[in-house]
Each structure stands twice: as structure tokens, then as C-alpha cells.
Symmetry: C2
DNA sequence: GTTAGACTTTAAGTCAACTTCAAACAATTA
DNA sequence: TAATTGTTTGAAGTTGACTTAAAGTCTAAC
């Protein structure tokens, strides 16, 4: 039972409010619309309005975007979505491959964090004398078994 | 005891080889040099050459870069590095703040991965009938206690 | 009813981080 | 020695993702 079926009202959000709700700006939303990523409705007088479904969609889209998907890749997903349930397998495959790539990227980021931590430790060791003046960072990494 | 002290030879790498070693391109290396991120040496005839120390530096720089640091921010770090050990505290502070920001960003990425996983599960559930036709993704997330 | 602020459009501008180009010089290979 | 490949420079071009501008229309508050 959704809010809709409960009271028959559907919230309409104008672009400014919707922008605030999603953390985007109005120009960005018009840009996304031009790129086909979101399709707001129009009131009689020509003003855009967005609904709660659009809020959910944009939130999910922003998650996809933060995995590294480009506007062009998102566009493909949106097109499939518009074609209906028949494209669910395609969408599923796309999301799985996005996940694959994303997890690899996160592994790299984890490694970068390790190196960053090591460098901070190494500097700290230099500062408090825990690490000898002559020990370079490369050797330090090697001793920690942290390649690169 | 370093390789240097062991045999007195120091490897010299020309820009193409160095590019391959670091995963960058020659133009990118020239661009980084112009921005002050790396200072190769020059042989008598004017050709750039890089050393193992430069390899280590670029590798570290790329880790910093993948935490989200911009060329401009890296430039600041490089300047401090050139000023000698007196700036170690500054560099340490900078790296710690970079780490702070980076860890927050990784938390966000973790969350995006969660949502992506949920969406994949949801689609899979739709496909194999495990999730009812009428259950939307937003409700599914709510049931999983995964906000947004 | 007037006015400030939000909205509409199309088009041009911005930004970071490269990438490509052109023309001349250096090094390697046949 | 000739040809090919690599390097040099400065400057211009590219890309993705917005952002800003300009000029007009709509809405809400007073």
C-alpha cells in the first residue's frame, strides 16, 4: 500500500525544490533532462514538475554515477528502462558489470589508502625518531610488505 | 644499503620508458613537469631522463591523486617537499586531512555499492519471482533498512 | 496590481586534465 | 648512410560535466 493509494494525492515538486531535495542545481537538472536522464512532467503553463518517483530515480542514478558511470552509460540504462520489463536482463547484466568494475576500483582505492597511511606513519616515525633518518619510504614500504 | 651504494650505477630512463613504467604517457609527463609535479634531469644533448627515485615519487603521487587530490593540491605538497624537512609537519597535516576526506568518500562509495547490490538483488528477485511484482525498489530498500 | 523571485529557452562559456599538432633535432637500426 | 623511431618545444584542441548569460514568462507576496 503506497502513499498514493492511501490518500490519492501525489506530490508535485518544482525544479528549485526538487533540486534542493536531490542536492543538484536547477541547471544541472535541465542538463540531465536534455541528456535524457530524467523526464519531468509539465503543468498546463509549461513549468516542470517532479514526483516522488523522480526523487527515487535521481537518488539511484546518483549512486550509479558515483560508481563511475558516465552520463552516456547512464543514458543507455535509462533507454532500456523506458523499453519496459523485457530489458531487465540487459539492465541486470549492465549493473553486474558496473559492480565488477567498481569493486576493482575500490580495491585500488583501498591500496592507495594503505600507502597513504604508510606515508603518514613514516613521516610520524621520522618526526618522533621511531624511524631512522636513513630509511627511505620505499624501504619502509618493503618492510611492511606493501608493494609500490 | 641501497642499490646505489652497492654498485655505484644509477639507472637513467628516457621519457618513453619512464612513461611505460609509470603507466602514464610522455605528453602527460611533460604536462606534469610543466605543472611542477616532477623534475626530471637532462642529459648533455637536452633529453630528459628519470631515475628510480622519480619512479617512486610518481607512484606515490598517483596514489595521492587517486584519493581525489587535484593537480593544484599536489603542487602544494611538491613545493613543501622542495623546501626540505622543515615542512614535514605541514605535509603530515595535509596528508592527514586528505586521509580524512578520502575515508569519508570511501564510506559514500560503500553505500553506493550497497544500493547497487540491492538493486541487483531486487532485479534478480523480480526475475525469479522471489520478489512480488508490486514491490517497488524503494520499499525493498526500506525492508532492508538501507536508506536512500 | 505591482514587484521580487522562480521559471522558461537557447547558446555560449568554464574547468581540469590531459591530448594532439607541427616542425625540428637525437638516437637506433639496416 | 639512410630510414625509422623517439624526443624537443610551444600552442592549440579535446572531453565530460556542468555553469552562466540573456531575454522573456510565471507565481507569490504584499
Amino acid at each position: 500500500m503506497t502513499t498514493d493509494t492511501m490518500n490519492g494525492t501525489e506530490q508535485h515538486y518544482r525544479i528549485g525544490d526538487f533540486a534542493e531535495m536531490t542536492g543538484l542545481t536547477s541547471p544541472t537538472l535541465r542538463y540531465y533532462e536534455k541528456e535524457g536522464l530524467v523526464k519531468p512532467h509539465r503543468s498546463e503553463n509549461g513549468l516542470r514538475y517532479y514526483t516522488d518517483a523522480d526523487v527515487n530515480w535521481i537518488k539511484f542514478l546518483l549512486h550509479l554515477k558515483s560508481t563511475g558511470m558516465s552520463i552516456d552509460q547512464l543514458k543507455k540504462y535509462v533507454q532500456w528502462r523506458a523499453e519496459g520489463d523485457a530489458t531487465i536482463p540487459k539492465r541486470l547484466d549492465l549493473l553486474k558489470s558496473v559492480r565488477e568494475d567498481f569493486m576493482k576500483k575500490m580495491d585500488d582505492l583501498d591500496h592507495s589508502l594503505t600507502i597513504l597511511n604508510d606515508k603518514i606513519d613514516w613521516y610520524s616515525g621520522k618526526t618522533d625518531g621511531r624511524i631512522s633518518d636513513s630509511e627511505g619510504f620505499a624501504e619502509y614500504l618493503e618492510n611492511m610488505n606493501h608493494a609500490e
